[in-house]
């Protein structure tokens, strides 16, 4: 009897505690404000940064049958703070709920701040906040981040987290933006021997962008008309040692993604100059990368030699000159055309980045490691310095797996 009583008493105490304690870590989930995006800008005050928070309103778009809630789907707040961590405290004077970074998807940094040499130390604060997950994305906006969030008004996905989820996911899948998670940012930073590519985004379109072929745009340059949101995710910002040094366009980003074995980019559509006579000068091809790149290096001597072989599988999508690909000769011609075109593209990208940024836009230094026995030797070799003078030999291995429809069939169809 006594034992039952004791057990019951303990249970009652337990129950009291569990219900009554509101302290410690317990927090009802509707008591929190979920930050979807953080924007970082340079502040007018010295030594401070301007932090913008994009908060999602859970009530909009998720409560079924609630009818038209008059509330807006999001809230955006910009204010000055000493650092990102402190910002969390400050913002509670404005927001009624506890700030939570659990759903943080994207950190947008204005180009202005990203090019600032202080940026590395600012972004490093993030590591200290355990709530920020390393799989949040880092993006660089052309305009101020605070403006970026304000301007960004997606039409289809009113809920901000959904918008960023779709936008980033599909952008990465297409290869137009790099997979720039914080995790990759920090590991690249620690490694210190390669460039880091962060996605480039803009909420404002440039006034009169120059027409460019296919994907050679950076954010804000893509011209499109119709009814849609102006925000664009294309191209990437180049970070060297944690500070932004330049930008590369969408096509170059795609190429860098293909070069980087650690991204799992699927297929990409590319236009190749038409080697056959005809009015249309481009052939659309689908490139697929299924195997890993082969990289060989000769690191002896003043100028290291780097041989990169990229295995590509190709599907021809169009055939503007109505060539009969059942002929071996034609097959060879198109193969060669694709080969030289892709090799040119890659070489151009690598030369461009080598010359301008002195480092490779993807973790190329990994491939060099196997030539060394110990870390010390590798460090003595000084990859970053040697790479500047390296000679890069690109080679694509083209395998055309599908030539498209047979010409005779198309002819028949036209008749």
């Amino acid at each position: 009897m006594l034992r039952i009583k004791v057990v019951c008493e303990i249970l009652v105490i337990f129950l009291m505690i569990s219900i009554l304690t509101g302290c410690w870590d317990r927090e009802e989930l509707e008591d929190r404000a979920y930050v979807i995006g953080i924007g970082l800008d340079r502040s007018e005050h010295k030594g401070k940064i301007q932090v913008t928070m994009l908060l999602a309103n859970p009530e909009v778009g998720s409560v079924q049958g609630g009818g038209g809630s008059p509330e807006k789907p999001r809230e955006i707040i910009s204010f000055d703070a000493n650092d990102i961590i402190a910002a969390k405290g400050t913002v509670n004077s404005i927001i009624s709920r506890i700030i939570s970074y659990d759903l943080l998807k994207i950190i947008v940094v204005s180009e202005e701040l990203a090019r600032d040499s202080r940026f590395t130390s600012i972004i490093y604060d993030i590591i200290n906040d355990k709530e920020i997950r390393m799989n949040a994305y880092l993006a660089v906006s052309n305009e101020k981040a605070s403006e970026y969030f304000l301007k960004n008004k997606p039409r289809m996905e009113t809920r901000p987290h959904k918008y960023y989820q779709y936008m980033i996911h599909h952008g990465i899948e297409n290869g137009l933006i790099p997979d720039s998670t914080l995790f990759r940012f920090f590991t690249t930073l620690e490694r210190g021997s390669d460039l880091f590519l962060a996605m480039n985004t803009a909420a404002k379109r440039e006034k009169s962008p120059r027409y460019k072929s296919e994907d050679e745009y950076t954010a804000g340059q893509v011209e499109a008309s119709g009814e849609f949101d102006d925000t664009q995710f294309i191209g990437s910002a180049v970070f060297k040692d944690g500070v932004m040094v330049g930008k590369i366009n969408g096509l170059e980003t795609v190429l860098a993604n293909v070069l980087d074995d650690s991204t799992n980019i699927k297929d990409l559509l590319v236009d190749v100059p038409n080697p056959f006579p005809g009015r249309r000068k481009q052939i659309a091809v689908r490139l697929m990368k299924r195997e890993k790149n082969k990289v060989k290096m000769d690191l002896k001597g003043e100028r290291p030699q780097i041989f990169i072989t990229i295995p590509l599988r190709v599907v021809l999508m169009t055939n503007p000159s109505k060539v009969d690909f059942s002929e071996k000769r034609n097959q060879e011609i198109i193969k060669k055309a694709i080969k030289t075109h892709t090799e040119n593209l890659y070489e151009k990208l690598l030369l461009h980045t080598q010359k301008e940024y002195k480092e490779a836009p993807y973790p190329l230094s990994f491939y060099a490691r196997k030539y060394f026995g110990t870390i010390q030797e590798f460090e003595k070799f000084n990859w970053a310095k040697k790479y500047q003078n390296a000679v890069i030999h690109m080679k694509s291995e083209i395998k055309i797996i599908d030539y498209g429809k047979k010409q005779s069939e198309i002819d028949k169809g036209e008749k």
Binding site: I19, D25, S62, H161
Partner: protein
Amino acid sequence: MGKSILKTLVKVLNTKPHFNEQSNQERMELKAQDISTNYEQNLENFKQIFSIPKNVDVKVREFTIRALNRHAFIIYLNTMTDIELIQKSILMPLIENEHAAGKIQDIVSFPVEKTITNIGDITENITSGITALIVDGDHQCYVFETSKVQGRSIEKSDNEVIVRGAKEAFNEKLADNMGLIRKKIKNENLIFEHFIVSKRSRNDVMLVYEKDLINHETLHSLKDKLKAIEVDSVLDLSLLEQYLEERPRSLFPTILNTERPDRAVSFIEEGHIVILMSNSPNCLVLPATFWSLFHSPEDHYLRVPYGNFIRILRLVALFISMFSSSFYIAITNYHVGMIPPDLLMAIAGARERVPFPSIIEILMMEIAFELIREAGLRVPSPIGPTIGIVGALILGQAAVQANVISPIVIIVIALSGLSSFIISDTSLNFAIRLSRFLFIFAAGFIGIYGFGALIVLGLFYLTSLKSFGVPYFAPMTPHFFSSKDLIIRHVPMKERFRPGYLKPKDMVKQRKE
């Protein structure tokens, strides 16, 4: 020193009430006597014992045995006996037979069960439906097995429903139940050992086992326990279960209680002991492990893949009903990042208008669900189904619309409630339903850490449970030799061994010749 003071204090506070019991010394003495040869005295004695004529269903019929030309009377309870049988095979021969015969046995066509002399014994026999014949001048009493107890016939099993396999269930008649078992095991080694527990109402208990399989230590310890029960009456097998259990306060059962004879038989064949009791439509199986409670006979009746499918389903159901609501609490109150963003937004949006913290919300719904369940069980059957609908409608739909409960909580509770039905064993079912609340409190107290702590605590507790010396999770851990019928069962051909934790005399079920 302090302890002894405490003890005396407890003693002073916990005094047992004293009753002035009326002495029935006189009766006790009467019962201890043998019957006399004096007819009148015997009649007087029995009339006194059975309070005739106050006691309505006790019948005494006086007559003359013509063959012997002596007075005699029979005494029986007409509610417990087959009157026609008495009439035909006892009374008629005795009254009508005119041929002289020396012995009662020669007159009566009824097989005489035995002769008794002690009044107390006779009384006991009469109360269990036996007819007693007392003849003038005879110093012994003839008792005839005429009992015919009213009761249900053998019916379908209600509480342990299965699709395939035998449908019959135990009923309240001990003889029927024994027959149900006997007809499944046609082997002379099957023993029904009679045992009487309790002093006053003298309840019959049958120990059923196969004598060439059973481990005798277990049997002895069981018998010792049965002998040690010192109460006036043990009305039902379920009560006996509580007397026998090592830890009657424990949440988890350590004796299996089933109403299916086929299940009981399968355990007997493995070397377990089964206890039957008169007036109880079920039987006890011991020792019982977690696995025997968790398994259902259907697992084996179905083909291997199907049987394993429902087993895994049951395991999943067990986890869902035990953990889902507490996991919900832990996640929504402490580890919000775990929830997929869309769902999180939906929950947060719905919860914004709910006035209670989510732990109260969950508790409210859990209790509501238990109420519906209990009410559905107790209401008279014509309106039973309506209660379910009303409960679901009112508590589900209306509570959500009134912003008392958020819809996700309904899903969580419904899921955990439904899953709990899959555990067919009543005791295990209760154990899981109750421990669910413990988990809710733990999770509400300190999130997933408390949740994990309670799991470990529970596992420590469960592994330390023992059912007649058999660890609860045997033969998984501690390991015993067995046919490995735990979570996954194998084909029947491979299940060749009896569980090693029983230490049966014969380990291999089908010995290869």
